[in-house]
Every structure is written in structure tokens, then in C-alpha cells.
């Protein structure tokens, strides 16, 4: 009994115990913060990566693309009806974009998508800005520039369908704060000759007086990556520099079925800025633009073309995104689809394909979204492991520190050990006393450390804002670099539990050597100790 009794008494009467508790507390808090932030970072990366693709991607690994994607879609739907929910083809190429209003030109990666199907297989739709406020108004088909109108009383009215969409949104939106924010957005006339209104931070051109409407020739829409044309503010929001419907010019290089440039002049597409997309991954949001699949296929020469012999080429796509039914195991489905692809090639494709077509089919790989983003995710995973190891090494210092503290305590308490042994305490009991003491230090240190760690993680963004307020150079988390607006601020219960338990065990391990030394000493030696 004396073990617990004395351990408790030592705990609140010995100053040195507080140093032990403080060192355990700081280590627990430090490791918990690192685990939570890095874990949250990894989870966000995974979630966002998952949202980029569908669960399964058939990838051609070549800009040349692969034929028979449409036939294979239908084949899959018949062959694996309980596995496949939806499929959609994607084209991928590179080009140059130009924003004539801002005289800005830059390289870009262009995806050709069938928007209605594409948003079903991944979370692309969630990142569309205007779609969020005006549901149903973002599309990639031919469109004019929506123009806000100014009534005689200088209030702003939206184009009819935007107004209607706006009303729909207000009715369906459950987040009142979003509506309030919209309502309180300033409407401001910036120039009497050519009024420009700021709506929710974006600029909307308006006719001077009159009904709202649409202007300009019809052009296909383009969805731009949000970091291409917008300016990201430190708080993670954007300053939008161009109006919806503004002209964007895209220059592309068509490729023939053999994968060689066709020799035609570069294709120039005049498009209208329909929306911007935010996937949450900076590298994608600063490079990617999205246009209509059929349009891009035609411009790139990847649609069905008549050859000189009168035959037609098969249309090609670069990827086929496959969404799985709920509850279907992704890896099992991947194998099933890969087998189906082999069956399809053997049984459904004519035997007289030319070599480039055969090669393009041969190169198609069936991948999961994790395979697609492996390099990216693994880099973050490895970073998490590395940082956790580094901080665990630092925590080892805490174990050694606890060991030192206990060694000092045992040294200081050598006489007590002699007294206790003189009244019959066993060596094992004495060791138990110091291990119980260490466990108590570990328990209190862990509880305090978890409390401090949780409080820190939960308020980490406020803390950073406060630091940035003190000195802007202290802002360590830049959305430009990490692509997320906020530092992850969630603590996983399992992480907290593990960190706490390991800290308690580490404290006990730290006390083992001094406890063993205390157990071995003969009473008289301890009593003579000065």
C-alpha cells in the first residue's frame, strides 16, 4: 500500500515532480499537435485527391488517347451491373490560355469533360464557385455573357435565369450565414460611364439602365482553375479579376491517331469564362482548365474522322473514369475491370487494328484513384512519418529527461529507501514505488499534455492569426504553398489515446533503471547515504 501512498505524497510535495510532469506534458502536447496537423493534412490531401478522379480510372498514359472507350463503357455496364454506377470519358491535353482583358497568357492543362456526368463521378461540382450561388447556371455549352442590369433607383437586378437560380438557391440553402453574407455584399457603381458592380466580391458588368440580360455572341464555356485567373488572399478567399462570361482564348495542338501532330495550324478556341473550379490542390487549381468533351475531341482531331480509304477512325479519350456502386471494394473492382478489359479486347474489338491503335489499347492501365495520386499521397504520408519520427525522437529526450529526474529523485530519496527497507519494504516494493510515482507523473503529464495539445490544435488558426497580427512574417501556413485555407484543426481520439498511453509507458520506462537501482541497494547502504 505504501507505494501508492508515498507516490501520491511525493507527487504533490516534491517540486521536481512538477518538472517531470511539465516535461511529459510538453512532449505529449508537441507530439499530439504534430500528429493532428500532419494527420489532418494527409486526410485532406487524400480527400481532395479522391475528389479529383473517380474511384477507378482507365488511363491511356498518352495524349494520343485510346479508342473504344464508349464501347467498353457499355460492355462494363452489362458485364458488371452491380459494380459500376457511372462512367465518363475524359480528354487531357496541354495548351495556352489567354485572358484578353488582362493581357495575360500562360500554359495550361486542358481537360475535356462531359460536365453533367463528370460531377457525378467525383466532387468536382462542389468546387465550382458560381454553381454554388447560382445552381444550374454553370455549363460548358454555347453561352453569352450574363449582364446585371441597373434599375432607375440604381439597385442591381440579375439576369432572369440567374435571378431565378438565386431564388432557388436561397430556398434550398440551409446555411443562413451564407445567405446573409450574400445579402450584405456591396453593390457599388465604380464608373458612371461603364458601371461595374461588385457582387459578393466579384465584378459584374451591368447595362447602364435597363433590364438585365445577356450580351455578345454565343461561345462555349470554359471552367478555369481558381488560381489561374483569381488572386488568392492570405485568408484563403479569392479576388476575382474577370467577370463571368468574359472572353478566354485557348490555343491547342491537335494530334492525329498515330500520336503525331496533324500539321494543321494550332487551333484557337474563343470561349467564355463560365466558372472557376477549386479542387483544393494548388498544383491543379493553378494549371487546369475544363472545356466541353465533344468540342475538345473535335479540335484535337480525336473524334471520328474519315480516312482516305473511306473508313472512319474511332473516337479517342485519354481516360475513362468509372464510379463504383456503394459498398463495392475498390481493389476487387479494379481487378474485375482489368479482367473485363482483357476480355473486351479479345472478344469485342476487331482484329484488324493498326499497330498504333493496338499499342494505345495495350498501354491502357486500370488504376484506383490512390494509384493515380500515389506519388502525391505517398510524399505526404512519408512526410508525416518523418515528422512523427523526428518528434518521437525529441520525445525520447523526454523519456531520458524523466529518467534523469527519477535518478535524481532516487538519489534524493535514498535515505527514504533505507528507512522503508529497515521497516520491511521489499526491493520489488521499492521499485514499484518509483514506477508508481513515474506512472503518476506520466498520467498527470499526459492529461495536461492532451489538454494543452487539444486546445492548441483546436485554436491553431486563431493562434496563427494572432502571430501574424504581431508580425506578418510569423504566418507559417500559407494557402499558396499548402493549398488548404486552414491548418487542420481536428484531433483524432485514437491519436490522443495512443499518445497518452505511450507517454505513461515512456515515463515508467524512464524510471525503470533508477527503480531497479533503488531495489537492489541494501538498507544500511541507503541509510548511510549522504
Amino acid at each position: 500500500m505504501y507505494k501508492w501512498f508515498l507516490a501520491w505524497r511525493y507527487l504533490h510535495t516534491k517540486m521536481i515532480a512538477f518538472f517531470g510532469i511539465a516535461s511529459v506534458m510538453l512532449c505529449v502536447a508537441m507530439v499530439l499537435v504534430v500528429l493532428s496537423v500532419m494527420g489532418g493534412f494527409l486526410d485532406t490531401v487524400r480527400n481532395r485527391s479522391r475528389g479529383l478522379h473517380s474511384e477507378i480510372v482507365m488511363n491511356s498514359h498518352s495524349m494520343q488517347g485510346f479508342p473504344y472507350y464508349d464501347e467498353f463503357s457499355q460492355y462494363l455496364a452489362k458485364k458488371l451491373p452491380d459494380v459500376i454506377r457511372a462512367t465518363t470519358p475524359v480528354l487531357s491535353t496541354y495548351g495556352l490560355y489567354r485572358d484578353p482583358a488582362y493581357q495575360q497568357t500562360g500554359p495550361t492543362q486542358v481537360l475535356g469533360i462531359q460536365l453533367d456526368d463528370y460531377v457525378k463521378v467525383n466532387s468536382f461540382g462542389d468546387g465550382l464557385h458560381y454553381q454554388k450561388y447560382f445552381p444550374g447556371t454553370t455549363h460548358l455549352g454555347p453561352q453569352q455573357m450574363p449582364v446585371a442590369g441597373m434599375a432607375m433607383d440604381h439597385t442591381l437586378t440579375l439576369p432572369p435565369d440567374l435571378e431565378e437560380a438565386n431564388m432557388r438557391w436561397r430556398k434550398s440553402e440551409t446555411d443562413q450565414s451564407l445567405i446573409d453574407r450574400f445579402e450584405s455584399a456591396p453593390f457599388e457603381i465604380t464608373s458612371p460611364e461603364f458601371p461595374v458592380f461588385a457582387v459578393k466580391g466579384e465584378r459584374q458588368f451591368a447595362t447602364r439602365v435597363g433590364l438585365p440580360g445577356y450580351v455578345g455572341p454565343e461561345r462555349n464555356g470554359i471552367i478555369m482553375g481558381c488560381d489561374i485567373i483569381n488572386i488568392r488572399r492570405p485568408d484563403g478567399n479569392f479576388d476575382r479579376t474577370i467577370a463571368r462570361g468574359a472572353n478566354i482564348v485557348l490555343t491547342l495542338m491537335p494530334l492525329g491517331p498515330t500520336g503525331n501532330p496533324t500539321g494543321e495550324p494550332a487551333a484557337k478556341l474563343h470561349l467564355r469564362y463560365a466558372d472557376d473550379s477549386r479542387t483544393g490542390i494548388y498544383d491543379i487549381d493553378r494549371m487546369m482548365v475544363y472545356v466541353d468533351f465533344d468540342l475538345l475531341q473535335s479540335v484535337l482531331g480525336m473524334d471520328s474522322r474519315q480516312l482516305v480509304d473511306g473508313n472512319f477512325t474511332k473516337p479517342r479519350a485519354n481516360q475513362l473514369l468509372i464510379d463504383l456502386d456503394d459498398g463495392v471494394d475498390m481493389d476487387v473492382a479494379k481487378d474485375q475491370i482489368a479482367l473485363a478489359w482483357i476480355d473486351f479486347q479479345e472478344n469485342e474489338i476487331p482484329l484488324d487494328l493498326d499497330s498504333s491503335e493496338q499499342m494505345s489499347l495495350y498501354k491502357v492501365q486500370v488504376l484506383t484513384w490512390e494509384d493515380m495520386q500515389r506519388d502525391f499521397i505517398q510524399a505526404v504520408e512519408k512526410e508525416k512519418v518523418l515528422v512523427t519520427i523526428l518528434f518521437s525522437l525529441i520525445s525520447l529526450v523526454a523519456v531520458v529527461l524523466v529518467g534523469c529526474i527519477f535518478y535524481m529523485i532516487v538519489e534524493k530519496k535514498t535515505k527514504d529507501i533505507g528507512i522503508l527497507k529497515a521497516v520491511g519494504a521489499s526491493g520489488r516494493g521499492i521499485a514499484g514505488l518509483f514506477i508508481a510515482y513515474a506512472a503518476a507523473v506520466g498520467v498527470f503529464g499526459s492529461i495536461l499534455g492532451l489538454a494543452v495539445g487539444c486546445a492548441f490544435v483546436w485554436n491553431i488558426n486563431d493562434i496563427q492569426d494572432w502571430l501574424a497580427w504581431l508580425n506578418p512574417n510569423l504566418r507559417v501556413w500559407s494557402p499558396d504553398i499548402y493549398s488548404f485555407d486552414k491548418i487542420p484543426e481536428t484531433v483524432k481520439q485514437a491519436d490522443a489515446a495512443w499518445v497518452g498511453v505511450i507517454a505513461i509507458i515512456s515515463s515508467m520506462i524512464g524510471s525503470l533503471i533508477p527503480a531497479y537501482a533503488a531495489a537492489k541497494v541494501w538498507p544500511v547502504k541507503a541509510l548511510r547515504y549522504e
Binding site: 500500500m1 505504501y2 516534491k14 521497516v423 520491511g424 538498507p523 547502504k525
Partner: protein, 263 residues
Amino acid sequence: MSTAILNAKGIHKAYKMGRGEVSVLRGASLRVEEGEFVVIMGSSGSGKSTLLHMLGALDKPDRGQVEFRGQSVFDQSKPIRNHYRNQDVGFVFQFYHLLPELNVLENIAIPRLVYHSFFGWRAAKRKSFAEAREMLERVGLAEREKHRPSELSGGEMQRVAIARALLNRPALLLADEPTGNLDAKIGTEVLAMLQEFNDAGQTIVMVTHDGCVAEKAHRTVRLTDGVIQADSGTRSGSKSKSGSEAGDHRRGDSGDKPKTEVV
């Protein structure tokens, strides 16, 4: 027939000093009868305390035997030796050796805390503290039970140490210069108290270098050159009462009249 409570035979002990060895005990032998008050005298460094530590199993002899009631102490297992220290022997030190974090009552109760397991203590707690209070009253410090050792005088601390040593009613009390750190008046009081316990039947072996202290004992032995040299007689009115007549407080006391013997 005489009843030896303690019988130490041919105790040898040497300590390493640098490269050499200093032989402290060279075959010291001592026999102590039930109820006896024996004083071990000797000059400083003669090995008195070392011998007492051997008797109380606080240290291990290089050679020789210590028998308690006919059983060799050092041939026993560690748990039995721990039990011997806890139940059969009470130790009083010159420098009191109280635990500074505990109050007076807790210090007295510590042998019971050591004896009982976590669950056993729950059942024994009330009785243990009642007995500790009783001991505290017997040493005249009833009103100081909540005080820390640092708030006590030397004499008071030694009384607490005596109460702790006797809480488990050990058959043998070993006292290592219990008055050595006290002034004459307080030392006399402490000695009187020990004498009182002895009168009540408590066997006491005490180490001292103070001749006046030795006068209170039944028997005085002298330790010279690592061996017990001589018996210097008994105090007046030596152990004439049996333990039961004096209000025996020990466990398993025989009450036999002691016989002094130099081995």
C-alpha cells in the same frame, strides 16, 4: 532453560577502502535473552553500529550467523528477511530517520503500510491508525500527530522513531545511539522511556558510547577489535519482573527471567 531470542555467532564484516579492506567485525558473537536490555559499547569506529545492522538484517555479514529464535536470518529468503525487519525487529536510529513528507502519525504507521497490500490496507487502516495513536500517546506526543518531522524537536523525533519501531510489537528493539544526537536532559527522557518499555518486557539491544546510558542496561558488552570482549554487569534491580507483570505489550513474549551471558 535460557531462551535466546537472538544469537549472533562469529560475525565477520570487512569494507573495501580504496584498494585495501578494513576489517570491522572479526568474529563478534552475542547472545540476547528474551526481555533483556543489552548495551553494546565501544569506541568510535569499533563496529558497534555495524553489528547492530547485522542483527537487524539491514546488512549482510561476510561470515557468521544471526539466529532469531533459533532460525538463521541470513539463510532465509528475501521475503522472510523483509518480514523479520517488519514484524520481529524494530529499529531506532541516531538520526531518527523519519520520512519528511509524512506527518507524525503516518510516520508511525509506515510499518503497517509496508505490511499491508493495497486491498489489505483498506481493512486494516482504521485499526492501524488507532494503534499508531496509542503508541503516540505512550511516547507523550498525542497532540503532535498532524505535525511534520521538520516541526518537531530532536527528542520528539526520536520518540516518534521509537513509536514507529514498536508499532508492530516486535520481539526485539534495536537502538543505534538513540540519545547520541540529543542533549543530556532529553537523552535521559528518551532513555527512561526505553527503560519503561523494557520493564514492560521489551527486549532491547542498544549501541552507545555513553557510560551513563550503559548503566541503565541489564548487561553491557564491549566491542573491541571487532569482537565482543567483556560483560560489565547489570543495572541495579535488573530484570526482575516478568513481561506480563509490567504490562507486556509485545507479541509472543515468554516472560522468562533473563540470564546474562557473554559468549
